[in-house]
Symmetry: C2
Subunit: 249 residues, 2 copies
């Protein structure tokens, strides 16, 4: 990502919507399965008080770290103590300010929000499919995290460059309310929601309801409204705050 | 899976189509990236002559094995020397004959076919996104393998039970041609192809072509026609041959 045109960034975010929706649909094929999130019930020996979900996320991120995933700015990990990459990844020149990207991370809140959201997404009860449930959970939150952090970083930098003096002044006096206002475009948020609702319908238009569980547009919209959009703005704010304390690159 | 009604099995196979198509679309967002499949070019130290694709498949299956994936009959692994599961998986009573499921495995041929298929699926050239490419490759072939082996096992057992004497006679005299004929239902294959083509269109109906690469129905049909359907029949045949040498359960 080296283009900071806001329309280009918005289009990139749009391109991540199908992936997020599809992964939510995948997870919704299984019941809530609360046991998969209970500490100490993973069945893994010496896993201590970790849940099966915790373990799956850990294993997935260790694998992804080895393959170089977290060298990409918008790929912010859920763990801070992952092994290094086993390979060198070629990255495009970054247009971002040289801040510590870890300060932008919204992963802790994202896990909390996502776990609370599972009962909205999935049928109540327990179907015993714990392994499949957490497999799809992890793919879903990775897709959501990518969207949140991509927005946080590139939207913030792009907006900053449109009005650096104004942002600098607000950052200097710590006016968070006005900053969040400048980061909010209600018309864009409305457009995202209309588009996401439409995609949820189309992505399931040919499904055989006897064998695939369908999810409603409202279920996905709720995640966008209550988690994805607010966390993205949160991340934008953190990026700008970190950016404010150092000279422009 | 404990219901051997052929319509129920067909519906289960239908439910896997969205997943396969979606994972092919995910992979098609990246170029062919031939370097990711070249031996010894993974960048991993001490990976010998493995390619990045080989390594990703290995890491993924080691993780999945720990979480219990390959205890499920239709989940046949691509490796034969994986570590054991760290947890006990509750499995429904199996209606399958107690054969060694490894003999049904079509994974070697599937990898060969899939790697040859990548240039049909993806744009020519190299975009440097090797890590993402092999990540999606592995998810795609796992989804395809699940479909192939699910069909191989349950369709074969179901068809056998419809006409055990006839199958026993053909198996006793090794009449592979006639067996394959009995396993072929041209009308079902035609219906699958029409349905898959329709799903490919719907699953991409709301895509913004500026940010998402689209794939054609024909591209997916080719995989069904040349790989998925023939390998499923191959697996059915192997299942029946293994079944033939032991008494009915």
């Amino acid at each position: 990502m080296s283009n900071l045109d806001l329309n280009t960034i918005a289009a990139q975010l749009e391109g991540l919507e199908e992936t997020i929706i599809q992964k939510l649909i995948d997870r919704a094929q299984f019941a809530v399965n609360a046991a998969a999130y209970k500490p100490g019930m993973s069945g893994f020996s010496s896993a201590g008080d970790k849940s099966l979900f915790d373990l799956r996320l850990r294993y997935q991120e260790e694998m992804d770290a080895a393959f170089g995933r977290f060298q990409v700015p918008e790929e912010r990990p859920f763990h801070t103590d992952l092994p290094g990459s086993q390979r060198r990844v070629n990255l495009a020149d970054s247009p971002l300010a040289p801040i510590d990207l870890a300060v932008v991370s919204c992963t802790v809140q994202l896990v909390t929000d996502y776990l609370a959201y599972i009962p909205e997404l999935c049928a109540a009860g327990d179907d015993g499919q714990y392994g499949s449930s957490v497999e799809h959970d992890v793919l879903a939150i990775q897709a959501i995290a990518r969207r949140v952090h991509f927005g946080s970083l590139y939207v913030a930098e792009s907006k900053y460059r449109e009005a650096p003096a104004e942002f600098d002044a607000l950052l200097a006096r710590g006016d968070t309310d006005r900053l969040l206002e400048m980061l909010t475009r209600r018309d864009v948020e409305d457009r995202i929601q209309r588009r996401v609702a439409e995609k949820v319908s189309y992505l399931q238009a040919t499904v055989n309801p006897l064998v695939r569980t369908e999810i409603s547009p409202e279920t996905v919209l709720k995640l966008y409204r209550d988690t994805i959009i607010p966390l993205t703005k949160q991340g934008e704010l953190r990026y700008l705050e970190a950016r404010g304390v150092r000279p422009t690159a």
